[in-house]
Amino acid sequence: MDSTKLKQEIQERRRQAQSAPSESMPVEHNMAELRKLQPRYRGLEAGHRACQGCGEALAARLVTEAAGPDVILTNATGCLEVFTTPWPQSAWRLPWIHSLFENSAAIASGVEAALKAQGRKTKVIAQGGDGGTFDIGFQALSGMLERQHNILYVCYDNEAYMNTGIQRSGSTPHAAMTTTSPPGKERMGKRHLKKDLLSIIAAHHIPYAASASVAYPADIRRKVRRAVSIEGPTFLLIHSPCPLGWGIDSEISIEVARLAVQTGLFPVVELERGELTGVMPIRHPRPVADYLKLQNRFKHLFTDDPRAREEREHLQALADHNIEIYQLKGDGMDALDTDGADTVRRGGMVD
């Protein structure tokens, strides 16, 4: 249904509701009917307390929108839990449960087992940030995947412990500044590499594991629909900028996210049963410096310090490596946010 037709339909219904006697068409009932006509389902409502430009809030809205209303959500402790549910308020239109930092995958396993025991078909989506997924909740996640629970696990990756005030996580990129990886006389930010979580997830040989970025909403929607249609464990890693943690202005959040993809630093790929089956191609790879220089967390890499140049080269090499191993280089125009058009299929399961 196109939007003009929808508008007409809504106006017609409103007109009818106003003119009809209230007992024959109660307004509430009418609104419920109208809601059905809304082209988008909203699982996460506006009015929550996320910061301006929060990538995680946007990603969570896109995920729940695409997954539809027959879903139960679990949530690890973190920003998403805090900014959506300050008691007695909640921004969720879906049944939602938060327990602890490290058990989102395990409580989801329990919810899914209960649904199975009751013969209910509702889909379970487990959510966590990178701290709750790469680090403290990793064991529970691995167990969930190994036991083949019918759950989509979504990791909103903003590359540090943002909720506690920007501490380094296993996902923090090499050389990034956080409050526990500050640059100084002896250090140039985080000493270690970003954990290659997606490969570890894929090594569980689950039906579907993919990465995505908030800069490409249609790609997220497509991947969520794909993941929830599969019976079994699926995983989605969504790169989600944190303006506060990355030291960027809120209004360039999406631009920065897109640069992470276009430089090759955050490869957007799909893996089925451990095999690479799809990538978002980069037609004109951008130098990593274009991405890094926008962010305060990499500010120390743009000084006269000889180590700064070395670390920039190090990061460029990591991006080049990603482009090579995932064969990200593509022809033609750069990826735009169009459904499917920006993904090269390499076989695998049929949609």
């Binding site: 049944p95 602890l100 395990a106 329990g110 529970a140 167990g143 190994e146």
Partner: protein, 390 residues
């Protein structure tokens, strides 16, 4: 019907009679036989439930948390380090008011590592908000496990059934296993009004600030207090069905006119009761079997202690740097009495050290020498201590 069953086997069968929807557990000695027996019942099609073989006790507790919130009757079992690894989740299950039932096969905690029985594990999580019921023998463990589901579901509080590791879990005992009809007539199917359901979306486990946190915790405290009559009623109603009670909040045995009593929890009560019967009539003491450790039955305990001059609290745990835990709590609970008895406090039988029949006499004698407010570990062997601690 009477059967000779190992404690763990009996518990597995009793749990199966309660028709849980989801069971999740991780092996740990001495709980392992329970989860093994449940796995077998599932494999043989005798128990229709989702059995989730998790990768840790932490996930076992998390799985039953999620399953309970999604509206299924849920059960887990653990011991010792497993209980400690679960600790964070246990507090959360209680705070979220989820009616999970678990068996704690009581075992010592590390270090030094020791797989044998005492009560230090469940004691460590006494402030988690779980109901904790202790069993003196395997029949009580069966009956208490069945009652636990009813108590949990009526109070919306989780229940931990504590039974001594090895002493009960690995001991063959003739027990009366209730019939499915008896259990079904006692325990209605589980319905949970706050369950996760897309038709009525609720947010569970939200962030609560200083303006509501105190009230949420107070309500948990009140819920535990209000569980006291539920525990008594659950036992009384069960007795109507199978003609056998499991000990309500506490029970008192021994001569009416005795002015000394020994209070204990768990299987040691059976030893004490038997040794008491072998004492000369005028030397016999009262034996108070405390079944409900949480909620702590202050009023019932005060009633039980009317007329006593001396109350010896025997426990199988202690708080390093303080002394007895149970003893300290009993002293506090009796402080409101007009004429409270003198409370003597001893820990005994840590890490599986045997508690022989002779313990009762030794205890009565040692109590005479203990100063008011004192505490001692009764069976510490000085020659096994480093010289500076003798």
């Amino acid at each position: 019907m009477l059967h000779a069953l190992e404690g763990s086997q009996a518990i597995a069968q009793a749990v199966a009679l309660c028709r849980p929807g989801v069971v999740a557990a991780y092996p740990i000695t001495p709980q392992t036989h329970i989860v093994e027996n449940i796995s077998k019942l599932v494999a043989d099609g005798k128990l229709k439930c989702e059995f989730v073989s998790v990768e840790s006790e932490f996930s076992a507790a998390s799985v039953v948390l999620g399953a309970s919130a999604a509206g299924s009757r849920s059960y887990t079992a653990s011991s010792s380090q497993g209980i400690l690894l679960m600790a964070e989740v246990l507090f959360d299950i209680a705070g979220m008011r989820l009616p999970v039932v678990m068996t704690c096969a009581n075992r010592a905690i590390s270090a030094p590592i020791n797989i044998w029985n005492d009560h230090q594990d469940s004691m460590t999580v006494r402030d988690s908000g779980w109901i904790q019921l202790h069993c003196a023998d395997n029949q009580e463990a069966i009956d208490t496990s069945i009652q636990a589901f009813r108590i949990a579901e009526r109070t919306e509080l989780p229940v931990m059934v504590c039974m001594d590791g090895f002493v009960l879990t690995h001991t063959l005992e003739v027990v009366d296993m209730p019939s499915a009809e008896q259990v079904d007539s006692y325990l209605p199917p589980f319905t949970f009004k706050n369950k996760l359901d897309p038709k009525h979306p609720l947010s569970l486990g939200t962030l609560v600030g200083p303006e509501y946190y105190t009230e949420a915790r107070y309500s948990l405290h009140r819920a535990l207090e209000k569980a006291l009559p539920e525990i008594e009623a659950a036992d009384a109603d069960w007795a109507k069905i199978c003609g056998r009670a499991a000990g309500g909040l506490l029970t008192v045995e021994g001569p009416e006119n005795a002015t000394t009593a020994v209070l204990a929890m768990g299987s040691v009560v059976s030893t004490l009761t038997e040794s008491n019967e072998m004492l000369p009539g005028n030397k016999r003491v009262k034996i108070i079997k405390l079944r409900s450790f949480r909620p702590f039955p202050i009023e019932a305990l005060q009633m039980a202690c009317q007329g006593l001059k001396e109350l010896i609290v025997l426990e199988r745990a202690f708080s390093p740097g303080l002394g007895g835990i149970l003893g300290t709590e009993v002293r506090a609970a009796l402080a409101g009495m007009q004429k409270p008895p003198q409370v003597r406090n001893f820990t005994v039988g840590l890490g599986g050290r045997d508690i022989p029949m002779s313990t009762l006499s030794k205890l009565i004698n040692a109590a005479k020498a203990q100063a008011p407010g004192g505490f001692a570990i009764l069976d510490v062997e000085p020659e096994r201590l480093p010289p500076e601690d003798r």
